[in-house]
Amino acid sequence: MAAQVLDVGFHVLAVDDSLVDRKLIERLLKTSAYQVTVVDSGIKALEFLGLLDEEKEISGSNHQQVVEVNLIITDYSMPGMTGYDLLRKVKESSYLKDIPVVIMSSENIPSRINRCLEEGADDFFLKPVKQSDVNKLIPLVPNSFTGKPIKNHEQQQIFSSSTCKRKQHTDEYLSPTLRRKRYNQIFS
């Protein structure tokens, strides 16, 4: 059976080991109406992108649904695999290397920023992340997602190969929706 490509709109994969920051980045990205998947580590990001099981081909035995990732935004300082390590793995991969990657960090260290940009990061956000930062992602969204006519032919060429096909995962990778808590339950 052939893999089906699901059309989910502009899909951002956010990576951060901080619970609070995951909640914040998810909400910020959703204000731009992006499809968002949030994971808490570089390893989980690689798994989601299909990089960990590159050897195992997508087998024809099941219906494999494929979801594209159009942008990766990752924290820099994470235990185990840093955002920089993740950036390198993505840029080293033949089929993921054109996906734009944005790094976030709470520390304003020019050498760190330069290293990331040199490795191919498209932007670097200083934490805490704000709406104005997320608005900077807009130029990275191809016109095909916004329904507008394509103005820049060159831009379209860059992004046409920037999609990554990987297996769809279960809810494990979707950010947990918090139950709405009533005020008095929180403070009991």
Binding site: S18, V20, S106, I186
Partner: protein
């Protein structure tokens, strides 16, 4: 208390939180992310912050209580706490964490213990303030009023 009075208390209280440095502009970012489709966003993020902070403060207490203090671990915990307090706009907690990290670099246990006390104090203060703020909001809504926007 009637709605107008509640709303005035709310505005005064909110303004004092910013004036006294408990909260900074990042908290406004959180408020702007709250809307009809995400009506509990601020409380949800702040609750995560409380959960996260309490765990980190416990970890820090334990780490500084060891025979051989692992300053790398202490620094990592403070870094995390600094990050999450910064993300929600808890300015005084964030600043207390910045000072704390400097003493971690110096491997100064006594100073670190003092810093931990200070961070705990600031955390409890802001927690109390935020709980009061949320209670005021609830009272306004229960009285049929709308939450005023505070610049």
């Amino acid at each position: 208390m009637e709605v107008g009075q509640l709303q005035r208390s709310f505005v005064e209280f909110t303004e004092s939180l910013f004036r006294e440095g408990f909260l900074d502009a990042q908290f406004c970012q959180l408020q702007q992310l709250q809307d009809e489709n995400n009506p509990d966003f601020v409380i949800e993020v702040v609750s995560l912050f409380f959960e996260d902070s309490e765990k980190l403060l416990n970890d820090l207490t334990r780490a500084l209580d060891q025979q051989d203090v692992d300053f790398k671990k202490v620094d990592a915990c403070v870094h995390q706490l600094k990050g999450s307090s910064s993300s929600i706009g808890a300015e005084r907690v964030k600043n207390a964490c910045i000072a704390f990290r400097n003493f971690c670099d110096e491997l100064n246990i006594d100073a670190c213990l003092r810093c931990l006390q200070h961070v705990k104090q600031e955390y409890l203060l802001v927690k109390n303030k935020l709980e009061t703020l949320f209670r005021l909001e609830q009272q306004i809504l229960a009285a049929g009023g709308a939450i005023p926007m505070v610049e």
